[in-house]
């Protein structure tokens, strides 16, 4: 079967889909058959806004190595920035 455990989380941010940018509210992470990547299984991540319909979706299909490297890269990038700089609780943008 084409289905394995799915992790679903609430997220806050934006993504760019076929119709341009839209706000994101959910992400799904699962290991399953990809639609496009040339492997039998990949780590699939869907960035979604279900309120805007099924097409409000940014999809990526990564190998295990790529997915883990992405996790490390995200952690490294955040570690290099002041804590809270990109937090949802950050101060309103200051005028430049």
């Amino acid at each position: 079967m084409c289905t394995y455990l799915t992790e679903k989380i609430r997220i806050d941010g934006s993504g760019k889909g076929a119709q341009g940018y839209f706000g994101l509210t959910e992400a799904m992470v699962y290991v399953d058959h990809p639609q496009h990547a040339p492997y039998e299984h990949t780590v699939n991540i869907d960035f979604l806004n279900p309120a805007l319909g099924p097409s409000a979706r940014v999809a990526v299909e990564l190998t295990e190595e790529a997915a883990l490297a992405l996790v490390d890269a995200i952690r490294s990038a955040l570690a290099a920035a002041p804590p809270g700089l990109a937090s949802s609780g950050q101060a309103a943008p200051a005028a430049h």
Binding site: T3, K8, A18, M28, E40, P54
Partner: protein, 245 residues
Amino acid sequence: MYDALLAETVTVTGHGGDRIEAYSARPMSPGPFGGVVVIHHMPGYDDPTKEITRRFAAEGFAAVCPNLYSREAPGASPDDAAAAARARGGVPDERFLGDAAGTAAYLRGLPSANGKVGVIGYCSGGRQAFLALASLDVQAGVDCYGAFVAGRPPEGFPLQVEPIVHLAKDLHGPLLGLFGAEDSYPSPEHVAELEAELKAQGKPYEFHTYENAGHAFFAVNRPSYRNEAAVDGWSKVLAFFREHL
């Protein structure tokens, strides 16, 4: 020999009277022809499934593939629709049966129909083909590596379906099953459980399990494609439908 086909998107009346999208392919000669309901795989109502539908038409059947995700994602691309359906645990069995019954009725309503209809499904559609053969007025069914006919989805699986092996007693016609020896869902043990139940119920069936093949060996656009299994499988499917439809 006149071999023109007509392939086009049509509308069929599905579960609850809903008008749903479907892909039809049929010979343009008068017939009479048997009908084939094509049930798409879990990744959706996609171009390779439409290609399968056209193949049946080229082989002398009227074939219609209903978009089982029409309601979740009208107008969305097949991969987005499949993601939406996946997030909801797949298609409810009752709704599927309504859509399949509507598709079979559409096929029987064609002027070229011979009155017989078969059903074939792939992946999640394999289970649905078995369900249709047990529940609807169809004459033959083909289950291509359908998971959870026997066996239950493990805890946490997004596909919320129940095993239906107990429905073997209700099958209305012969069942052809095509499986990959390297598949996990269904595993060779799941296939053996289904086979034992068919034997116990005295139901006609023909099973083939291909070595060096896993899940989705018919999927021409995926790495799971296995030439030998797919070519032999197609010949078995066509012979089966020619005999029974």
